[in-house]
Amino acid sequence: MKNVLDIKAAALGLVMFVLLWQVLAWLVHRPILPPPTAVIPVFLQLAAGELGLHFLASAARVLAAIFLAIAVALPIGLGLGLAPGLDRAVAPLIAIVYPIPKIVLLPVIYVLMGITDVSKVFLIALIIFFQILVVIRDEAAKLHPELILSVRSLGAGRRALLRYVYLPASLPAVLTALRISVGTAIAVLFIAEQSLTTRGLGYYIVVETYQVLRYPEMYAGILAMSLLGLALYMVIQRIEMRVYRYQEGGNEGARSK
């Protein structure tokens, strides 16, 4: 896996980012782009208070959506992978629905599900759901028939196959799909949180700060949202690296024996 974001690289990137920001702030020199020296103290001061609470609200929504999406996509994806006939029947439907930008359904979901956290979580889960569904289905269908047959010959029934073959086989692809879709999920969260709630970073950035011209506070919110995305990305990547260990051929010299 290339482009692994470790702690050291992340710290270096952060320093470069802050420097670039500082330079841009000098050049633009307008209130809409305050320098990091003005924002970071505000961020640190707010982090322990209201900003922290908004961060937690947003994080809780994304995490709930991730778990909901996995819990629903896993059985359906595995089921489709195991039943090629059914898969062929519903494949055109999935192909059509998959690329629809789910955010456009926001008003519909609000009307149908009500203006609650449930509808916001549902919308984000919908995005992640399709990403994961497709990869689980494809991974399950891609498995070598000989592998399935030899595990079946060891006495594995359907349940044992799911547990020892299909599930671990699709896990790496699920994590990759998740890592990639987390960015979209947070973007949609930002939009969904701008209205009909009083908690969350989207609300904080747009309603509490931007609309009342509190620019340094707004940037503190942007920083928090970026950190949320970064943290999720890095956590998923860490799990991915553990799971992918077997592909990296970490045991040198095995061939020589």
Partner: protein
């Protein structure tokens, strides 16, 4: 031990691979199955393993008609059989891990049928030692040679203590020393255990080494088993004498007629 009764099997269209085919295989025998590719060798193995159901007739093992994979049957396929994400030890113990939770009918095993972890570990260790894999326990399949992978698959199967061992092209793509070593390991199994071994191969030498009886399958529909006895020339160490060469020549001639 195995009675194949009027077996008929086809993959949908075309000519059936087996048509009214009957064969008896006794306990503790060593058989080789040879024939051109596409003749149904591997299909026969899948049928014997209970992974495919006959279109007609039946296969009876130990007096019971085969309807699903039987716990006492071990199958080793030529490749792709190991879990790529599990190391050698986990792969070798896979059958026992499955058996710890699920019965032979695929449902959750009743507590008294479960194998305890200590016994499972003991068995896995035994076969890892026996097959020279003890030092490779933590390695993943992608980092192993083909011979090592083949031995891991064998260890996994043998840990289940099978009385019937089905081998699909076990020596294909192995270099000569690795191949002879594996042949020796497999043939030695029969000295210690009353195990029936059926080896499918397209290789004449391998058939003569592995089979006291050699079943020849032909392209198209197999109606009557064509079996030649090979009591004298089988075994790894017989490989170089005249009887071995004669048997190979005989087999080559028979196969030549089929193509």
């Amino acid at each position: 031990m195995i009675e194949i009764r009027n077996l008929t099997f086809d993959y949908g269209s075309q000519t059936p691979i087996f048509e009214n085919f009957s064969l008896d295989i006794g306990r503790g025998e060593a058989w080789a199955v040879i024939g051109p590719s596409g003749c149904g060798k591997t299909t026969l193995l899948y049928l014997l393993a209970g992974l495919r159901q006959p279109g007609g007739g039946q296969i009876v093992i130990d007096g019971r008609p085969l309807v699903r994979p039987r716990p006492g049957t071990g199958l080793v396929l030529q490749d792709h059989g190991l879990l790529p994400w599990a190391n050698v030890r986990q792969n070798a113990g896979l059958g026992l891990t499955i058996r710890a939770f699920y019965g032979s009918d695929g449902r959750h095993a009743p507590a008294d049928e479960r194998l305890d972890g200590v016994e499972a570990d003991r068995r896995v260790n035994h076969w890892l030692d026996e097959l020279g894999l003890a030092a490779l326990q933590q390695y993943f399949p992608a980092t192993l040679s083909r011979g090592q992978r083949q031995r891991t698959a064998l260890a996994r199967t043998l840990a289940m203590q099978p009385d019937l061992l089905l081998l699909d092209e076990p020596f294909s793509a192995l270099d000569a020393p690795t191949r002879e070593e594996l042949e020796r390991i497999i043939l030695r199994l029969q000295e210690d255990h009353p195990i029936t071994i059926i080896t499918v191969t397209h290789d004449i030498d391998a058939a003569v080494v592995m089979g006291r009886k050699i079943l020849i399958l032909e392209d198209g529909s197999n109606r009557h088993p064509q079996v030649i006895a090979n009591e004298t020339a089988c075994g790894v160490d017989a490989s170089r004498d005249g009887a071995f060469r004669e048997k190979c020549a005989e087999l080559r001639q028979l196969l030549g007629k089929l193509v």
